[in-house]
Structure formats: C-alpha cells, structure tokens
Assembly symmetry: C3
Homo-oligomer: 181 residues x 3
C-alpha cells in the first residue's frame, strides 16, 4: 500500500501529503478493498467477496469484480463509473481514468475480459471489450471503444478504436502525455 501511495504522490504533484492520498483518493480505497475481496474470492468463499466489492462501489464509484487480477501500482484517477470484469487482468504501473470499462462481449465461462500489459494508459470513458490484449506502454484515447488487441507502444482511438503508431497522429489530433486528468 505504501508503494501505491508513493506512486500517487509521484503521479500527482498537487498532492500535499500521504494522509491526503490515503483518505481522499477513491482509487486507493478501491484497490485496498479489492485486495481483500480477491483474497476471499481465491479462497472460494461465497457472498463475502461480492459484498465487499459492492460496498467499495458504493463508497468509490469503482466497480471491480473480486475475480479481477490487478498488478502493482495501478492508479485509478477520479474513478467514478469504472467497471473491471471478473476475468480481466491489469499489469503493473497502469493508469486508468474514470468511466473506463474492461468488459466482455459474451458469456463464455473462460476468459472473456481484456488483459492490459504494463504502463498502459486508458483515457476517460474508454470501453475495452472482450478477451483482447493491450500491449505494454499502449495508450487508449478517451471515449474509445476497443474490440481488437492493441500492440505495445501504440495509441488507439475512436469507435471502433483504430491503432496509430506511437509516433503517429490521428488526423486533426495529437495525443499527448496521457489523455485526461
């Protein structure tokens, strides 16, 4: 947890103290509660994990299924409306903004949600759907709908999202550091 708080302080220079991060950032609470829910989920205990995740959703507006596998130092900024599905996987050092969904498009009992690599940035309101992979250091533009895998270091934007080279630009658009505060 201290690692995560340090990450937040580094990410957001406006942060004044670790106490502020601990008490006032919904993303920190959501991850802490998810760690507990995920532990119960893996132990095969019924009801409790989902009860924790619903409580977390009520407190933070962030809805992470207890089954989701979340890497180190994930920052969920603002967070309201984020939904992360049961079989989703998120790598280390990712940054996800409010309104993002890591969702499914069918009900296959096996893996039906996306996998994010490390250092992935997902802009506000983007929906990533199905058992696809977002490569390391990839960026997803705000409000995009991603239904195909995105390679490493690429940027994808639009509905449906199209991949552009990390050096490239979408016509009329130049994606900068991380698409939304």
């Amino acid at each position: 947890m201290w690692d995560l708080i340090r990450t937040y302080r580094k990410y957001d220079p406006a942060t004044k103290s670790s106490l502020e991060v601990l008490f006032l950032y919904p993303g920190v609470k959501a991850i802490a509660l998810h760690r507990i829910a995920h532990m119960f989920y893996r132990a095969g205990i019924p009801f409790i994990p989902r009860a924790i995740s619903e409580w977390s959703r009520f407190l933070t507006g962030i809805d992470i299924h207890p089954g989701a596998r979340i890497g180190k130092n994930l920052i969920i900024d603002h967070g309201m409306g984020v939904v992360i599905g049961e079989t989703a996987e998120v790598g280390d050092h990712c940054l996800i903004f409010h309104g993002v969904t890591l969702g499914g498009v069918d009900f296959s009992p096996v893996k039906r949600h996306p996998t994010l690599g490390n250092h992935v940035v997902v802009g506000a309101g983007a929906k990533i759907l199905g058992n696809i992979t977002i490569g390391d250091h990839a960026r997803i533009g705000a409000n995009s709908v991603v239904i195909k895998s995105v390679p490493e270091h690429c940027t994808a934007t639009g509905i449906p999202a199209k991949v552009v080279n990390s050096k490239g630009v979408v016509p009329g658009e130049e994606l900068k550091h991380d698409q939304i505060d």
Copy 2:
C-alpha cells in the same frame, strides 16, 4: 420481483444465490425503488417520487425519473451513471449497461425521451436521445450516440450511430452476443 431475480440468475451464471442478487445487484434495488416512486408519481403526489429516485441514485448510481415506464425483467448491469428520462419507455426483457442515457434533446412538454422495444440490448456508455424508437431485439454499441430510430433486429454503432443489418458487421468490428459485461 422474484421473476426479476430469476432473470438475473439466468443472465449471469456466476450468481450463486437469489440472496446475492437481492442484496448485491444495484439494478435490482433501482427497479424496486422505481416501482414505488412510479406508483406515487401516477397518483400525482408531489416531492415523494423524486425524493425516492434521488435516494435510489445515491444508493445505486442509477437515475430513473419516477415518470419513466419500465417493462418486465429489465436488467441494468453495473448501472453506475445510467440516466432514464421522464417520458422514456422500456419494453420487456431488455438489458442496459452502465453509463447508458435514455435522454431528450428539447423541452417539449410531451414525449421527449426514447422508447425501447422488447429484448433490446444497450452497450455501456451509449446515449439514446429524443423521441425515437429502438425496435425489438435491436442492439446499440458501446459509447454510441443514437439520434434516429433503429429498426427491429438491427445493430447501431458510432457517433452518430449508423444502423447495420443484424447479420452485417461494421468494418473492422463484429458485434457479438451483447457488447459488454
């Protein structure tokens, strides 16, 4: 209500018990509270219906105007950010994901919100605006903005949403069972 709970259990195989559905699914709470608010609304009682719907919004993140007419067995999955307007109508057996709006584009005192048929599926973040009709078994893609009626069995995606035949595919996109978990 038992019918609705049965529908949820059928929809989501991960559900372990009816108690889980009753206590942990925000969509179930929102519909139950809406039924009460709508009763007061039809009786012409002031303040109370809106107070119930605001309370429901606080508890669930789902904002249904007391005037909206909701059919049988509507599933609202995840639900955070859903807004359903006063003169909206939703048929039976529909499925609506989080972030969906059934909204208006003007302030005509008469019907200004959409009508959904039966078995309609609306993907996460989609906005359906104005007094238009979405036909039975139609599907709306995630983050789409729909401002024209969509015929039965068709799929519509994009901003503004374009209709594709239910057998057809959007270039680079193949819409599957129900666009998002």
Copy 3:
C-alpha cells in the same frame, strides 16, 4: 444560491418547488459545496478543500476540484460522473450534463484544463481535454472528445470533435436545443 435555484426552475418546467430543487438536485449541492471548498482553497488551507470535494463527490457523483473557477448559474444536470479539473474555468449560464469531463492531457503546473465561455452547453459523456477554449453559446455533442478550441456559437461533435457552423448539421444529425435531458 437563490439565483441558481431560480435558474433550475426556469430550466426544468417539471420542477414543482424551490425546496425540491434545494434538496433533490445533486448539481445544486455540488455547486454549494464547491463554493465553500474553493474559498478554503484560495485561502491556501491544506486538506480541507479536497476533503469537502471528496465528500461532495460521494454525495452527488460530481467531482469538482476545489481550484476550479465556476461562474454564475451553472446547471449540472443528473451529474453522475462529471469531473472538473483544478485549472478549469466555466463562464456564466452554462449547462453541463452527466458524464462530462473538463480534463487535462499533461501535467504542466500552469493552466492545463479547458475554459468554457458563457451559455455553453455540453452533452452527456463529452470529454473536453487540455487548455482549450469553448466560445460563448457553443454546444458540444454527447460522447464527443474535444481537443481543439471551439469558436462561439458553433457546435462540435465526434471523436475527435469536429466543429460545424451553428446553422449547419452533421451528416445524418440535427443537433437541437441542448442535446440530452
């Protein structure tokens, strides 16, 4: 505050009383709490302003940074998922729907969020990103992603948003009074 309540009543003819507006409209609560948080923020007091804005976010689903400068009579309709950044500025008599973000694309310590003129209308789910300007009486379509300034009296829609003359129409789309209830 009475001015704001009057504005709501004028905006929404369905409103029955000023008490209803005061107690049941999340946008009114969010603005009232923001005025207090902004006062503490300008006084340079730590922790308290962010604690107020987080409490407001929990109550209303509306996340306004204490540093944001908000003009007179801003209506935030429905409001769930709205995010307004630290250096954002909003003019007088604007109308913002749920899911709207006034966000940033980098971490420059100076102004990194948008400026809205007067009488601007922003449709549900739209993201306005970076230190750009939205002119007086401009309209932003639902779910649009705006990364370039929009002139006065113009309408912008799409991902990325393209500007159309206020008299013009997007192909297949005719934007009316204010894009969503």
